[in-house]
Amino acid sequence: MILAGIAIGALLVLRPWADDGPPPEPPAAAPDLRGAPLDLRAAPWALQEGGSPALDTAPPTQSLVFPPGVGYAPALRLIVQSARQDGRVPAAATPAGPLPPEVVIVRPASPREGLRVSLLAPFGWTPDTRLIRPASLRLPAAVSLRGATARLRGLAVPGSPLPRGVAVDVPRLEPCQIAVGTPDDRPACP
């Protein structure tokens, strides 16, 4: 039995460092979402059954314009709340056409304009691999991973609202992912 205990301990401690798996799957053909009714649950950032989709092969997807004064963080929270529940466009937002794939947000050029957020990659994309990020949530700072079990179980329930106290992580975007005023007013991506 002692040997069994040691074996269990070893299994818990050992980690396979080498990882020579097969190459990534080729991206599946995806529908063009430009004219489709918006269901945020089906957007490329939300529906990632086969891995984070490649930015350059993901289907064109609409964007949302938020009222003046709504910032990026509140906009992301509204988007996540919708995708976790019925998938409808948040009441405060207005659908708009797709942005260039690399553009995540278009900041307003004046206080009378609203923030425009890509529904292709509202959480940005990884600069090295150009993969569309899924949403990331953050528990209150006082919560440790050990004490988070019940909260995690609650978050995993399909259709459940975003609990109070759970934040939506706001990514640090690359300069080329941020346009100002118009989608083309931004630096080129490396």
């Binding site: 039995m1 069994a4 205990g5 990534p24 059954e49 086969g50 984070s52 990884t126 953050r138 991973l145």
Partner: protein, 115 residues
Amino acid sequence: MPVRWLRAAGVLLAGIAVGAAMAWGASGICPVAASGGFANCVSDNDPVVHAVQANAAGGTPYRFQLHRPSTGSVWGWWQYNDTSVHVFTISIAGLVTGQVDNRGAGTVNYGVIVD
């Protein structure tokens, strides 16, 4: 109480603790050295929720991603600059591994749950 009974009881309690831990998917504390790229931490089959936390500020920033070795698929990465618990809620079929890339300094422990 004979020593062998105490040992047996200890192993039994350890087994119960391990069983309790495994009931909540796969979780572990993984030491990850800085500048080593993504390191595998814990794996589980058909997980629906994934969480990570750096145990020390020295291990920030760090990156977290999910990897399915059977297809080479990757979810993420995300980069974090704090010691809060960060969570993905993605339902994934197959064996999935949570991976951490320490972009801070030294070797730091990260708590990871894949369930």
